[in-house]
Subunit: 284 residues, 4 copies
């Protein structure tokens, strides 16, 4: 059953919840999900609302215009509107490690996610067999310092042709250029193999081992121009001991990484994440 999902933020003021829920109810929509939150420090109101469309008086293709006219301009709102009968289209970027890739494809193949994955992009041939097992086109762009601009332009062309909504970097070991980030604002999800902001950058497990931490972690976040510094979506940790070698950390970390990344992807697919400044509001 098709429903509409509205994600919005605006300066807080009294009466917003009543006004916005009345918009749905008065127009014969049945609200199936409602959650709101006020950041009292910033004075910002956040809301996620989902409602049925079968008897809703405003045609789906007109809702955005009506909402802009009647509410968004008046309240200086930023908003996004989604429909559940439009599956988001996701591109997977991978390099050599397969654990996040398999975790995502297993969920996808089992039908757990309302998403389409029309293609996988890599800078290596190594995971082609994995992609082929699941029948998903696999495109290799071998990026070097010299050809990076050209290769990314071709990648972006391919993403465009495939009508891609968002990108998941499943342990993709290449820094994404600012152009591509700008083209997909808060639509590129990365998994970093540490509990950020600790151990930014390369080889975080080696750094964790050297520091002698008793917990290792993983962090999923939206990619911004600052390396490993974008809005955090999810984090988790697992306990380690002095007995664990760097290789043990890598092995234990893989389980964290794939779960923390898949949770972020799921929330993104469900349109339950609102990025604001450098943070996220995660509805549940």
């Amino acid at each position: 059953m098709n429903t509409a999902i509205l994600l919005l933020s605006c300066p807080d003021k009294p009466g917003l919840v009543a006004e916005l829920t009345n918009f749905i109810t008065y127009n014969n929509g049945n609200i199936t999900y409602l959650d709101q939150y006020v950041d009292h420090t910033e004075g910002i109101f956040f809301m996620r609302m989902e409602w049925t469309l079968d008897r809703f008086l405003i045609a789906p293709e007109k809702i955005s215009e009506y909402f802009m006219t009647l509410y968004a301009q008046k309240h200086q709102m930023e908003f996004k509107l989604f429909f559940t009968d439009r599956k988001p289209r996701m591109a997977l970027f991978v390099s050599k490690l397969s654990h996040c890739l398999y975790d995502i494809l297993a969920r996808y193949t089992a039908g757990e996610w309302n998403v389409e994955i029309p293609l996988i992009i890599s800078n290596h041939e190594m995971l082609r067999p994995a992609a082929e097992r699941f029948g998903i086109p696999f495109h290799v762009f071998e990026i070097t310092k010299e050809n990076k601009a050209e290769m990314e332009a071709r990648e972006m062309q391919l993403l465009k042709e495939n009508d891609i909504d968002f990108i998941v970097l499943a342990r993709y070991m290449q820094i994404i250029s600012e152009d591509m980030i700008a083209a997909y604002p808060n639509n590129i999800i990365n998994i970093h193999h540490s509990f950020l902001p600790a151990f930014v950058g390369a080889k975080p497990y080696h750094a964790a081992y050297a520091r002698g931490v008793k917990l290792i972690g993983a962090t999923s976040h939206y990619v911004t121009a600052d390396l490993d510094a974008g809005p955090i979506i999810d984090q988790d940790v697992t306990r380690i001991t002095h007995k664990d070698t760097v290789e043990d950390l890598v092995t234990k970390g893989k389980d964290l990484e794939k779960i923390v990344l898949s949770h972020a992807v799921q929330k993104h697919i469900e349109h339950k994440i609102l990025a604001f400044k450098n943070k996220t509001v995660i509805f549940n």
Copy 2:
């Protein structure tokens, strides 16, 4: 600053959120907290709303009557109304173990909780020095099979005289009679030293050791007539290994117990728990 807190549940229907938030906004209240939740399986709407009273048009002592007349009867609501300038009054019941008692008194003394603790009740003398350290009256009722009815009657008299709102069983090793439970419905909080429903009843750490579990837990819950079967408020676990003896489980469990109990007490003091049937809605 005095605020009002409304906790309510009723059969779900469209427009409730707008109607109820308008009640506050139209009468010059400023909503500082709003959270609602619909149990779609049961068709029940739950809400917690908090608002400022300084310019609110309805006098505090009249709000309950007005709300009953205007909304509660119409929508078959159950509701509770609290004011933050009225500190809840809590009675602590203890036996021989001090860890939960100290944890609660440390928070209380540090001013972390908006609560009054006018008395501590015990079935043993052992913890009198602990109570005296914090200057809280300590009453001993040595309960036996024979005198249980009489002793509990005297306890209830004492609770009444002290205007007690709710009771916390901080590892109190006596079963509370149905009369007392009936006098404080969903107002008696217990800590059970297992992750319920596993290991109901006596000696759960011995049972956990015998079963060879790899996690031990603690559960805070409201007391009902069914032993260890009331609505669960909070639970947590910690990892153990084959190396842990029963004594180790007891030691590790104490940290779980005190934190899980104190979290439940805090939520109760903040009026963020709504018990419905045999479950809890926990607002955050």
Copy 3:
């Protein structure tokens, strides 16, 4: 590099560690792993020792005999001897849910485990495509009440032909008969979708939802003749709230199940589990 692994238990007595480590050192073995543990309650000594074989004076095929003669009989030891150049052979049993299957096959295909998986057995056709993606023979035995004995006999024949060492029930929804359990003592690993001993038997997520728990769990254990009562290998939990439906519990539980099962399988493959009575000693 081939190493030998010795797992043993015996009544505790002074000098065992010295005697057993000297056996390796005096015979030119280099101990690469040593861990021991005394259960002082039971008076039992447990040890896991691993050593290099390249200069070891006793030929691999003779070690078991020598050890039996020189130490095991004298100290009433039970012991198992493994060699790392002999990959354990594992049979996977599945029904309709794919998450545990994919998690295991992803690790297997990536070469993370020193194991062979020569076949997958199911009571349904549904997961044949998943098995075929990874090129592993898939055998269906549609078990009914009437044909159960015969079908299991044929399964056991197939297991024997494939020289299977141990079985993993990856959400296999059939109760294993006592004959098969007896044929693979402490060599059948199951994943149960609750934190045992809570919610034994069918539909644990429904039971957890009905009870209103705040944590759900998963438990991997060796299968014994008592349903869901065998030695526990690993357990984990995740936090849920009143907002989670039964379907949410199922979804969240899947991530627990696959990780908790795979951790148990990994420990089993590494010969780091010693089952004693109804518990496990897990070396790390």
Copy 4:
């Protein structure tokens, strides 16, 4: 019953475990605890051994000399010897926050720890009533930039007079000078209110809030001359959401801090920590 505890490290070589356990067994000691670990990367052997003294042939006051002569010099060992009938003496340093102080005193008063706490030192008067509740002498040294050297000299004099073995900084908000650190190497335990190495230095909860992390943590560690960079003993985290304010982080963090600090203190009291370079080996 008095037992001896030996903590040692040395370059790894074959036969060490046998040689060292034989030392105890041959001299009529009964080993009640044995754990060893080899760091194969560094090539270092670590061991903790505990044994009974009632029939041990070497007098307690001679053990250290004998062990040095017979083993330590030969194997370039560093070792520490403790006796359980000698209670370690601990000094508590506090400032204005009481939660860690109360947690420690509650355990101490309940007799959970084999320790003496002869005094509490503070740079403020604020927690004097807390100390007096438990009957422990409370000494205030109001440290300023100008008088720091003199005040610390007087503190160290007081520590010496009280025969203090180790110091616990229970949210003590003063940087310890290098002289004091040098006087108590790996004997000053601090609690830092973040998961190190993230958020080193002042106001970590504010920094965590600003970064938008989804987990906050606490870290107990030995104090070295580098701020918040000493060997980590224990860490833990708790989940937060976008709804949590800085004040919420502070409140939630307190529970982490007190538990993580007390766990570290307990391990230290039990002589189960071996600091090596900038890491810890934690025996369990």
